[in-house]
Subunit: 308 residues, 4 copies
Amino acid sequence: MTQATGMFVAETHTSAVTWLFTIEKMILEGKTKYQNYQICEIPRFGKSLLLDYNIQSSLMDEYIFHECMVQPAMTLHPNPQKVVVCGGGEGATLREALKHNTVKQATMVDIDEELVDMVKEHMKEWHQGAFDDPRSTLVHTDARQWLVDHKGAGFDVILSDLPNPHEDGPAQFLFTKEYFQIAADAMSDDGVFAMQAGCANENYPFCMVSMIETLESMKEVFPYVAGYYGIVTSFMMPWGFVLASKKHDPLALTEAEIAARFAARGVKNRYYTPRYHHSVFTLPEYLLEAKREHARIVTDANPYKWEA
Amino acid sequence: MTQATGMFVAETHTSAVTWLFTIEKMILEGKTKYQNYQICEIPRFGKSLLLDYNIQSSLMDEYIFHECMVQPAMTLHPNPQKVVVCGGGEGATLREALKHNTVKQATMVDIDEELVDMVKEHMKEWHQGAFDDPRSTLVHTDARQWLVDHKGAGFDVILSDLPNPHEDGPAQFLFTKEYFQIAADAMSDDGVFAMQAGCANENYPFCMVSMIETLESMKEVFPYVAGYYGIVTSFMMPWGFVLASKKHDPLALTEAEIAARFAARGVKNRYYTPRYHHSVFTLPEYLLEAKREHARIVTDANPYKWEA
Amino acid sequence: MTQATGMFVAETHTSAVTWLFTIEKMILEGKTKYQNYQICEIPRFGKSLLLDYNIQSSLMDEYIFHECMVQPAMTLHPNPQKVVVCGGGEGATLREALKHNTVKQATMVDIDEELVDMVKEHMKEWHQGAFDDPRSTLVHTDARQWLVDHKGAGFDVILSDLPNPHEDGPAQFLFTKEYFQIAADAMSDDGVFAMQAGCANENYPFCMVSMIETLESMKEVFPYVAGYYGIVTSFMMPWGFVLASKKHDPLALTEAEIAARFAARGVKNRYYTPRYHHSVFTLPEYLLEAKREHARIVTDANPYKWEA
Amino acid sequence: MTQATGMFVAETHTSAVTWLFTIEKMILEGKTKYQNYQICEIPRFGKSLLLDYNIQSSLMDEYIFHECMVQPAMTLHPNPQKVVVCGGGEGATLREALKHNTVKQATMVDIDEELVDMVKEHMKEWHQGAFDDPRSTLVHTDARQWLVDHKGAGFDVILSDLPNPHEDGPAQFLFTKEYFQIAADAMSDDGVFAMQAGCANENYPFCMVSMIETLESMKEVFPYVAGYYGIVTSFMMPWGFVLASKKHDPLALTEAEIAARFAARGVKNRYYTPRYHHSVFTLPEYLLEAKREHARIVTDANPYKWEA
């Protein structure tokens, strides 16, 4: 037995377990209107961002989350020119979208201006200049309302990189069928939508499988819906995403076709590679089981309530 | 911010993070010559075994670890009759092997008799009577020496379910090239070997990739070597395994063939299913990267030293 | 920096700090109708009792708490024959009272029969046979009601060794002016009352000083009221008590008189010694300050609510 | 049971217990040549200083530690004019000494210049301008060597406010008989020496009682030696000090005399008051017991080794 000495941040993952991240150095700490944040050094993980004491991303593996957040959807669209990022505070989701040289305009809509201002200055390893790209526009407002206001805008890809739907949290109504319809209405006829959908482990698959279920219930809008996941070590679990597509089938995409698109568009990935595409979209049995047993259609009237 | 009240077991995973498992109830606690153990209730995980304050398996997902430990190797062999489990304390590895009705004899060689005695009585949900199966034999001795003594015995499948190779730990020399040769010498000409090989996350892939490297260095003995992994939620990460085969290629096995073997042998799995076989064997890029950069051939002269 | 490995019980002491007790061995664990309990080995503290994950007493220093709980009141009374212990689960308060050979009858009234049954068998180091003393009677009922039922019984000493007054807890109405009146009514004309009154540190003096204030508001019943404290290392702080006396003044007792009483009654103490009597009753300035600023009279209508 | 969420600093107090301080806000963090430091907000404790992850002082009760560190010795001396503080980083020990208007020169000798520079700017609530007092001089060098160099200087009071004597720590040889002799040689004929001497609880009294023992072994130099303690809530225990005096007996000082000196010198205290003087110097039995059983004379040849 050994006892602890040092500085730690505690994050609780269900009633089963609490993670104590070792904090080697607290780089910056603050509070915005919406959340508190810490930028700190975690041994081996490197520089990391915590929001409300939950780990958001670390330099060790932020590329995995952000490639998963962006690359399947961008790659699936044959010619993504107009892209929207809903949320996406660190700027790394925007960065990943801009990798595709087909992009003409990329708009990031994040309600937390103070956080993004902080990120611009203190998290350059994440955005890598994405905010200064001439194709980028940054808007600070509610992403759902912004999409309502852009009905018919014909976006090719919408990437929903939002906080988990905690009760009374700012993103609760951006995980509902109505929101997905609003996104669809702002997309082109062959638009692709992707979202981060929560934990994809056996302990808390509930949000992810309900997101799949909800998007699948919109067959007339999104004939193709596919859950997928990335192994995000700093999250201590696989993380879930859902892709919904108006015209193109992600599972029909071949390794060769993906490789060709990457080559044509100048895209280089570390996690979502042509070889690995199929595995990313093949869900483990426990997720299929959880979907059969626990999934429901999530609506504004009955929104998802993330359990602490 | 909230503070903790209650009972917890702390397990450290590298310098980055400590896991605090919530202990709802301590069922049994003790110490053998080799290790201390706790059987306890963890919320959502259910009844769980901890060894030296490291989580070993929980009812929630022990099937994932144990199917991965056993099923790929057993399935690959066209007619596994003689099986050896090295280690395998909980009896669940033995249980998984016995699922295949081809098996005529299954010998479990675990050095820790006190632990296995405790398991027989207090962990029935794990072994499910496997120790009483007439095909089973239980031996309490060092597994490596036992295999030396059974050179030429012609085992079809050897399953190495041993503790991680901590320096001066009981299993350090059961993660070396020499040990693998000893196992090969006790196997039939088309024998299959599988081992648990440690963490398969991006933070600590080092043991697993060195085990692949070491087995790959024995091409004349094992022409087919493949790393694979299972998503074990209670371990907070994907877990790594390596399969080494004298004659049969695991990647050549088709979904249909696997389904046929399961049907013929009366095997039902929850995680390692025909559909999922391919995904299990497709390693994420970061493991391939780690293998290129950090793997080495591990020998008795230079054994692996697991970092705390 | 070092990280934790092992088993721990966490107890929160206000929003400022959480204590993680190292659990070397869990001896017994269970749940009664009123509380959960653990008997465990804590390094250096030795065998210890936890109730609802709060440390109650450890072999290292239970004598300090229990001498303070009992000896000042018993010693002050010139001839204590009839004694009541309200609460007192471990039996050590009873043990301390029985040290005085003047005692003819000692009644312990503890509502939690299951706990006391457990204590009898598993905490012999605490009660040391006190329950079997022919002078002892054990009653399992609500202590307040029992005292109501014994109005006029003329007890010489009443010792109130009850859990802190948590909202909706079993002892909330045994920390009120009405309860103190009930106790007074069951006492002889020169009876002495003593109670454990909560933390006596600078961080949470609020309960203790309100108990002093409340008893001081009953001058016609208890002309002498004195707060005092013991340094209980396993509680991480000095612990507060209040003595209220109908006739005898604790501060008038001289070192010589105390020594004489101890000698006459066969009492040997380790903490509350004649030499140390005065120090025990001399409160540090911060408690006097807290009393001036924060104390209030606590009544059934407005009971004390212990903050988590 | 509840689980933790938030930021915490863990400090270990022997193998028995670890304290997790809740960190509401990290104000400043850094590292000097000698130690790392954090200035942070702890709920209820307020702004606090941690050195090497051990709590040093908090606004809630730093006055208790610092009054105990300074006031008994200063008060005992009939006319303290020349004062030396060895260590004393926060400047609060210096502040307390300067309260006595008899003081003509006060020299603080602290080896850690970087820390004191930080303190000057960020811990004004502690030093309250003491560094700018025209009577103050600040020297950054080893205090022991500085005292050697000031042999015969005739200081009236020397206050040794140094870190605990960890093996190979900077203060290990400032807790030895030889160091005490060096201090004596730099003092006037009626000089008074006081030191912080470590924990005064029942769990770890070992350093304190050996310091008393060591100073008592120097009867020809210090005819009067007295251990005393202050209840420092943020340290989770009473804290020990030792006073050694060449001519004046601290126990002979009456309440009235102390009050007169305070009045004459313009001293106002919150903890060490005339009324409380006697209690401060009356050690609990467990310390006397520990002294009988565990104390030893500590010398350069056999220095004290603080246990983690």
